[in-house]
Symmetry: D2
Subunit: 343 residues, 4 copies
């Protein structure tokens, strides 16, 4: 059976596993004070073009945990966080953000993206209302790159959103659960751009080569003093913190993070071409490792015997949208076997 | 340099790592719905003498996370949790329990343990007070086994505490971050006893052989419906849930959990005898893998050149209490090298 | 200057003030254990057609406080509350519901009301999704009567919503901040209907005759044990609880609550007729004490010199929607003076 | 029957009620934007010797609500609040502080007071511990004046505590639920001193002359921007905010707050002398309106037929501590009648 349900179905990149094995029986201090973690943070800041003494990296275990911890730490208590209606924090985090006391404020989703003009209008209208203190004030904007629908912002779009946020004194936070796949798919946006335009963002490991782990990059380290206390208070501090350090040190050595990411994009493009060549329609045109098609129900049922994948919405009377996901480990053979089934 | 600071300084038991490597490139569904996790849960319930259809196991990543998620899930909103003053949730969790809205109510610590009679009096006095609804009602009792001071409850003590809790309709929760070491050290308390006397408890992996992971055992599964939502809402749901399943399946195959635990106790006893033979005094007599001694400051400083360990309290004018910790991976050679330094 | 901004601009109904004065220097026990409060609760249950031994009344001070306390107390931690997009809890409570950890889930607003069919579809679709445990499950439905836009549900609409909620095991909660005005305006819905169809609701005092105070009616008292602890924990327990008892005892003696409410409706209808007669258009046709008109900007500016009222949305280029509110104390003379200005 | 249970058993001071009656049918804008509230705030700042443009006053309804709102607003999320073990927030607020996510950290109580030296040691030791970020950092110190045991700090004690707090950068908050009674009882501490030494404190109305209401004084107004949002989010914003303004304007006109407070002290001293003259012992020597005696059980039972009062702890085998409380409205006749019973 082939599996295209998601990008968290395999373990870790073989290079990452090799390093975990090599270091396994050695001993280190806990909670991220070890040297692997220090080196990983340095490598990440270098890759972002950030200054090691002004910026910092905080490692957490998973995406929902990272989102709720960061949002709670970078907003004031009476503030909420703006995102697209389709944003992960609004839909698929079981209320983890609200559990910390913050409202999620939604803007229309344009294939997963928010629009800088609509954002500007929302914020301006909000503070123009004389009774705004009776409502939840926006304190942060959350965007994902790539989005939950596989799309990516253009450089211009990111610059516009960043400008809107900063003109209103609002923090811009980017969820990079699949950041590598977004960067590998974009022909213009780089990690330097992300670091330049956002106040805080995370580089996803769970979906891009590690067993688990997300690296939160904080441009102005002074904005997150006592991050250890905040992370621990959220139940998000890993005792054997070096596991995060070792994994990210490996990913950010010899450009492994981008190299591994590129494989997913190459395989996704082959998959897209295969589906199109077989006469299927796109449900949405995604440049990243999530691909969306519309399948006639009989073909869908037939395909289910060879491969697992997600229905993207309820089954229709005749045809149904579906999602196929590739990752750093997807092989030529897997794609080939799938495409054979399609023909 | 030798390291005796804590029991989370190494990676995972070699058997555990071997299984993670073997399964690494295979694919599984996420969030703990995989077959490894199902098998691990079954093995754990068997080891506890619990019925697979009545009880359940929920896997989380770390101890503080587990404590705050369990306490929040098994108490009503207006209830607090009773523990010893020295309880981990009261001292070393950065307020993670209070972050979920629950007060920690303390009883005196008797070398880390609470006393059943004092517990009974506390609860009886509380509800006898006509104004109790203005105060925080106890809804749960939290004990640790072994305690934070390395001590373990006798079977009689556990039975008495359990009886007090259940006579008042209060949930008994046992923090088993180091459960293996407690069971290996006790000549009477078994996993069956723990499962019989507690309503919910966790079997610690992080300190006893895994990279990370704690297995929460819920005796009456109906008391934690929708645990997935609760765990996710706390940011504690691991995407690659199988990592927890694989590790615990390994630990609960061929009795590895207890075998690995016993090594720590054997080494700790050699260490204790060595210190006593060298003329040092015990700070506290612990039967488990944490050993506490009083060292003259000059000997302490000399020892620091060969080994790392924790000061247990502030440095005194002439002598200072210290803690040495062994674990599943402590070798004969490590102990031998340390004891040579002592002589 | 005339004031039509809101229905909380005056003190209390003269009858209520008279009773507060009469009882002022007497002494009572605190926190709602006094005899005034007991009598008020009894009178309210009688007026609702509920059984004094099965149902209970809990008195709080204000609306936002009541909403967040009730929602937090009647939902499980992982559950959210469904309401219309225009619902007060979604818009104008500064995130008080999210502050207790619960997400507000929105349905389209039909002039402030939700539609039973849309509600049924939302809930059915939600639980049909295999991944629902990753999302916020609906545990309660919140409706307001009258709505924030002055409209009221028909009896049939309430019955349908109630049926949908109970078929899914979901609690129906009705915000009655202006309940008296809704009942006075409806020619079919009675307090008995509200009590029959909802699980919990509150009878608003602040806007309908008291200085402050809302009476929460809980149909099945067993569903809110330890309400005192919950109310106190939310900072909502009034020390001099008798003030709530005295005020509500007065309102529910000799039908004062409905008599006082009817005045607001009579005056509102005169006001509506006056605006229509003067040639203005309705912005929305409301049967209750909130009236919405569209005014040409020059007439609006002229009117501002005699009366205060709210703009209902941003000022338009030529005309602007406005809201005028009457209350239990609005006099014939006030309406007359306003209508003179209109002509 | 005479009542000495507490100081919240009567309504409001007749002057306060008179003003509420006079203004009852007039109309004002809501939520504290009215002119009564503005005037009350000004009068209070004047009475405190604070600058109207640098400091601010925020009015809330009750004590527990005020404590949880202020503590949540003036601490960072990972910080807790230090108080005496007997502190109201630690004992009698049903966990309202923890409900906002903050731990209450306790120091020994010296007849209700904390000791500046012990406070200094606690804070110094805390931050000297290398692992402090794993524990709850103190961010605020909470003291009550008078304390829950009727005692009051000397000026020197307040100055020392203030110095300790500020040398560590920690906010000093004073709970003045009974502030008037404390000031009336002290021969040295003035409202100017309180304002000079604390960062934030509240002037209690509920127990000192109003129907309800507490006035929070914030020395540096910039430390509580957007207080309206915070207060509303806590469910603590009164719609008819002018009720607070009118009551406090009355109390701070012609020194009524202190005049009314003094009556309680005068009556309390007569009561104390009467008990002593009748041969009873003090349980604690309090200079304020709470008086504590030890009564032989038979005398206690006899007294219960004429007067209500609180047992201060469980009934002893032969004698029992009791509390008698006077207030602004206690009359000579009430005291006289009680003392007759004693003889």
């Amino acid at each position: 059976m082939l599996h295209f349900d998601s990008d968290y179905m395999r373990g870790a990149h073989p290079e990452v596993m090799r390093r975990l094995m090599e270091t396994n029986l050695s001993q280190s201090v806990g909670y991220g004070s070890d040297e692997y973690t220090a080196r990983a943070a340095g490598l990440i800041l270098d890759a972002c073009g950030l200054n090691r003494s002004e910026s910092k990296v905080v490692f957490l275990t998973g995406g929902t945990q990272t989102n709720s911890t960061v949002i709670d730490s970078f907003t004031q208590r009476h503030q909420g966080v703006i995102c697209a209606e389709t944003g992960h924090i609004n839909v698929h985090e079981a209320g983890a953000v609200e559990a910390t006391g913050h409202k999620v404020l939604t803007l229309p989703s344009h294939e997963g993206k928010i629009c800088a003009t609509e954002l500007d209008n929302y914020i301006s209208d909000f503070f123009r209302d004389e009774t705004w203190e009776h409502m939840v004030a926006p304190g942060m904007v959350y965007i994902s790159f790539p989005t939950e629908l596989g799309t990516i912002y253009t450089l211009k779009e990111l610059e516009d959103i960043s400008k809107v946020c900063h003109s209103h004194g609002i923090t811009l936070y980017l969820d990079g659960a699949r950041l590598g796949y977004g960067l590998a798919a974009s022909n213009e946006v780089t990690l330097h751009d992300i670091a330049r335009l956002c106040d805080v963002f995370y580089i996803g490991g769970t979906k891009v080569g590690t067993l688990f782990g997300e690296a939160v990059v904080v441009k102005d380290a002074a904005r997150w003093l006592h991050s250890l206390s905040q992370v621990k208070r959220h139940g998000a501090l890993l005792a054997k913190g070096r596991l995060l350090g070792i994994q990210f040190e490996t990913l950010f050595t010899d450009d492994l993070y981008l190299r591994a990411s590129r494989n997913a994009i190459v395989q996704a493009m082959k998959l897209k071409e295969g589906f199109l060549a077989a006469g299927f329609r796109l449900f949405m045109d995604s440049p990243t490792n999530q691909q969306f098609f519309i399948l006639p129900n009989e073909r869908l049922d037939a395909l289910k015997e060879t491969a697992t994948f997600e229905l993207w919405g309820p089954r229709g009377p005749e045809e149904t949208p579906v999602r196929f996901v590739t990752d750093w480990g997807t092989t030529d053979e897997e794609i080939e076997r799938l495409l054979i089934q399609l023909r």
